[in-house]
C-alpha cells in the first residue's frame, strides 16, 4: 500500500476503454480550484468518474489529502468517498423538492462545516426551496445541484463541465457563484472544462489534458505563460494574475492595482483598498519597447525582462516577460510581429518596457471572507495563489 501525501490530490489512472486509451497522472494541491482542461473527448470526464469511483480502472491510484480512495489493494465504492460531484446535467431527483434534494446527502448532525443556510445564501436559492425541480430554469437547477453536492460535506468537490449544457445567459448567471464558492469555502475543487474563459476566471491550478494523457500540470499562470504548451501558443493566449487594490482615482475613474513587479491603473468601478482582484492580461494587448515611451496614451508601462519567446505562425512571436526591473515579478505574455522582434533586436534576457493596453478584471470580491478556515487574505493563502507562483 502506498502512502498518500497530506495536502495533495494524487491521481494516476491508465487503461483502455474501448478504443480510447487513458494514461492520466498528476498531483496538485488539495487547496483552491484545480481546472482540468482539454478538448472534448480527451478523457477529462473519465478521470473525474474514476476519482469519484463511478468508473473503476484496475491499478489506478486516487489519494486526496492523505486519504487513499483507490490503490492496488483498496477500492472505496463511491458512497464511501467524501466527494461532492456535480454532473454536466444537474440531475436533480425529480420526485423530491429543492429542499429535499439539497438535504439528500446532508449528514444528520447539527454541526457541519458547510451549513444549510450558508449554502442557500451563497447560491441564491432561498426562494426555490419548496419548488419541484421540473419548475426550475437550467441555471437554477445547476445551482441546486452544486448546493446539494456541497451539503454532503465533501472533502473534494468535482464539477464535470457544470456549465457546458447551459446557454450563455445561464452560464453568466452561475459563474459569479462559482467564484464566490472559491472565495468563501476552503474546499478543494476539481473543475473540468473545455472552456478556457471559465478557467481563467477562478482556477488556481491547471491540469492540461490531450488525447488521454496529461500534457502538463501546475499553477495556472505558469502553464499559461509556458511557450512550450498549447495555451501560450494559441491566438487568444492570456495570463491570469492576482492583484491587490491599492487605491482609486475618483477624478479619472481609475483603479490602482498592485501586482508583483508592477502597479496598474485600470478604468473601473471603485473597490476598497486591500481587496484581491483577478486580472486577465491578453498577449495581444501587450506590446514592447526598447525605451520608456516619452509621450503615450498607454498608462501602464513597466520595465520587464524577456524570459523566452516562441514563434507564432510565420509572422508573429509570443514573448514571455517577467515584470519589474531585473525581471523578478509576475510573468505575462506579449505578442509582437516577427519583423519587430528582428528590427528591434529583441532577445531572451533583454530588459525592455512592456506596454499594457488592456487589462480585464475578472472576479471581484467586495466583502471580507467569512468562511472559518480562510477568514481573510493571509500570507498562507497567498502562497497558494497564482501570483506568488508566477
Amino acid at each position: 500500500m502506498r502512502t498518500a501525501k497530506p495536502g495533495r490530490i494524487e491521481i494516476a489512472f491508465n487503461g483502455t476503454l474501448g478504443t480510447f486509451s487513458l494514461d492520466a497522472q498528476f498531483s496538485v494541491p488539495a487547496k483552491g480550484v484545480t481546472a482540468v482542461f482539454g478538448p472534448s473527448g480527451c478523457g477529462k470526464t473519465t478521470v473525474a468518474r474514476c476519482i469519484a469511483g463511478l468508473k473503476r480502472l484496475a491499478g489506478g491510484l486516487c489519494a486526496v489529502d492523505g486519504e487513499i480512495w483507490q490503490d492496488d489493494t483498496t477500492f472505496r465504492p463511491p458512497h464511501l468517498r467524501p466527494i461532492g460531484y456535480v454532473f454536466q446535467e444537474a440531475s436533480l431527483f425529480p420526485h423530491l423538492s429543492v429542499k429535499r434534494n439539497l438535504l439528500f446527502g446532508a449528514p444528520k448532525r447539527d454541526t457541519v462545516p458547510i451549513g444549510f443556510d450558508e449554502v442557500v445564501e451563497l447560491l441564491g436559492i432561498a426562494h426555490l426551496l419548496t419548488r419541484a425541480p421540473a419548475h426550475l430554469s437550467g441555471g437554477e437547477r445547476q445551482r441546486v445541484a452544486i448546493g446539494r453536492a456541497l451539503l454532503s460535506q465533501p472533502k473534494l468537490l468535482v464539477m464535470d463541465e457544470p456549465l457546458a449544457a447551459l446557454d450563455r445567459s445561464a452560464k453568466g448567471e452561475i459563474l459569479p457563484f462559482l467564484e464566490r464558492l472559491h472565495e468563501k469555502l476552503a474546499l478543494p475543487m476539481l473543475y473540468i472544462s473545455h472552456d478556457m474563459a471559465e478557467i481563467e476566471r477562478f482556477a488556481d491550478h491547471l491540469v492540461l489534458m490531450e488525447r488521454g494523457t496529461v500534457a502538463a500540470a501546475g499553477p495556472l499562470a505558469t502553464l499559461q505563460s509556458n511557450p512550450a504548451l498549447p495555451l501560450a501558443a494559441s491566438r487568444d493566449s492570456a495570463v491570469s494574475c492576482e492583484a491587490v487594490v491599492s487605491g482609486y482615482d475618483g477624478r479619472y475613474g481609475l483603479l490602482a492595482l498592485r501586482l508583483k513587479g508592477a502597479r496598474l491603473l485600470v478604468p473601473a468601478s471603485p473597490l476598497a483598498p486591500g481587496v484581491r482582484q483577478r486580472l486577465r492580461i491578453a498577449a495581444s494587448d501587450v506590446s514592447l519597447a526598447l525605451e520608456a515611451p516619452y509621450a503615450s496614451s498607454i498608462l501602464n508601462v513597466f520595465p520587464a525582462r524577456i524570459r523566452s519567446h516562441a514563434p507564432l505562425g510565420h509572422g508573429e512571436v509570443t514573448v514571455v516577460l517577467a515584470l519589474g526591473t531585473g525581471g523578478s515579478g509576475t510573468q505575462i505574455l506579449a505578442r509582437i510581429t516577427r519583423r519587430s522582434w528582428d528590427a528591434l533586436g529583441f532577445r531572451d534576457g533583454l530588459d525592455v518596457f512592456a506596454q499594457v493596453k488592456g487589462v480585464s478584471l475578472v472576479a471581484a470580491s467586495d466583502r471580507p471572507l467569512e468562511a472559518p478556515s480562510e477568514a481573510s487574505p493571509s500570507p498562507e493563502r497567498d502562497a497558494g495563489q497564482v501570483s506568488a507562483a508566477a
Binding site: A52, G53, L54, P77, P78, H79, L80, R81, I83, G84, Y85, F87, E89, S91, F93, P94, H95, F104, G105, P107, A134, R148, A149, S152
Partner: protein, 228 residues
C-alpha cells in the same frame, strides 16, 4: 336466485382473493427480479427474461399441464409433500396461487424492469456521490422513480390473474369455494344454459377489463407528461 347469487359472490370473492395474493407475491419476488434484469450485464440475462416472458406466448394449458405434472401426486411436488405427509398442491387454492404467479409474472416483471431501465444509471450515480448506500439509493431513488411502473405492474398482474381460465381449469379444477373462480363459473353457467348468470358475469368482466386498461393508459399518460 338468492342461492345463485350466493354462488356467484363466492366465486367473486375467491377470484379477488386469488388475484390479490398473486399480485402481492409477484410484487415481492418480481421487484428484485426486475431490478436484476434491468441492471445485469451477464449474457444470460436475456435468457432469464425470455423464460419469464414465456407465459405470454404459451397456451395456458401447457403451463397448467407442466404444473400438474410437477405438483401432482406422481410429480416431484407430490413426492416432497409425501415426505411430511402433506397433500399435494394440485386442485387446491395454494396450487392456484403458484400457477397464477408463474402465469402473470411477465405482466408484473416487465413494467417494473422497463421503469428501472428508463431511469438510467444517473440517478443512482448521483445518490452514490451523495453518500447513499446501494440499499438506500434503491429505496429512496429507484423505487420512487419507478412508481408508475409499479402501478402498471400491480394493475396488470391483478387483472390478468382474474382473467385466466385454461391454467385454472388444469391445475385447480372446479371446486366451489376452493378453486371455482369467475372465469370457470361463466363456463359452467354456459354449459348449464344459465344465460342470465353467464351474461351478468361476462358483462361485469367486460366493464372491469375496460376500467383496467383505461387506468393503465392514464398512468402512462400522466407519467409521460411528468417526464416532459
Amino acid at each position: 336466485m338468492d342461492g345463485l347469487s350466493g354462488e356467484i359472490w363466492q366465486s367473486v370473492a375467491l377470484t379477488v382473493e386469488l388475484a390479490s395474493a398473486t399480485t402481492v407475491i409477484l410484487l415481492i419476488i418480481g421487484t428484485p427480479l426486475a431490478w436484476w434484469l434491468a441492471r445485469s450485464k451477464a449474457i444470460w440475462t436475456e435468457a432469464v427474461a425470455t423464460i419469464v416472458a414465456l407465459p405470454l406466448v404459451l397456451p395456458p394449458t401447457v403451463l397448467g399441464f407442466y404444473l400438474l405434472v410437477l405438483l401432482g401426486p406422481n410429480g416431484p411436488g407430490g413426492w416432497i409433500a409425501s415426505l411430511w405427509g402433506g397433500r399435494t398442491l394440485a386442485f387446491t387454492f395454494e396450487g392456484l396461487i403458484v400457477g397464477s404467479v408463474l402465469y402473470s409474472m411477465p405482466f408484473v416483471v416487465q413494467p417494473i424492469r422497463n421503469a428501472f431501465v428508463a431511469m438510467g444509471e444517473r440517478p443512482l450515480e448521483v445518490a452514490a456521490t451523495l453518500r447513499a448506500s446501494p440499499a438506500r439509493a434503491f429505496w429512496t431513488v429507484a423505487v420512487p422513480l419507478a412508481r408508475p411502473g409499479f402501478l402498471t405492474a400491480g394493475v396488470l398482474g391483478f387483472a390478468h390473474t382474474i382473467g385466466e381460465f385454461g391454467l385454472v381449469l388444469m391445475i385447480g379444477g372446479n371446486i366451489p369455494g376452493r378453486t371455482r373462480v369467475l372465469s370457470i363459473a361463466i363456463f359452467d353457467y354456459v354449459e348449464e344454459a344459465r344465460w342470465r348468470e353467464a351474461s351478468w358475469l361476462a358483462g361485469s368482466m367486460v366493464i372491469f377489463a375496460f376500467a383496467v386498461i383505461l387506468t393503465v393508459a392514464l398512468i402512462d399518460k400522466r407519467n409521460a407528461r411528468a417526464r416532459a
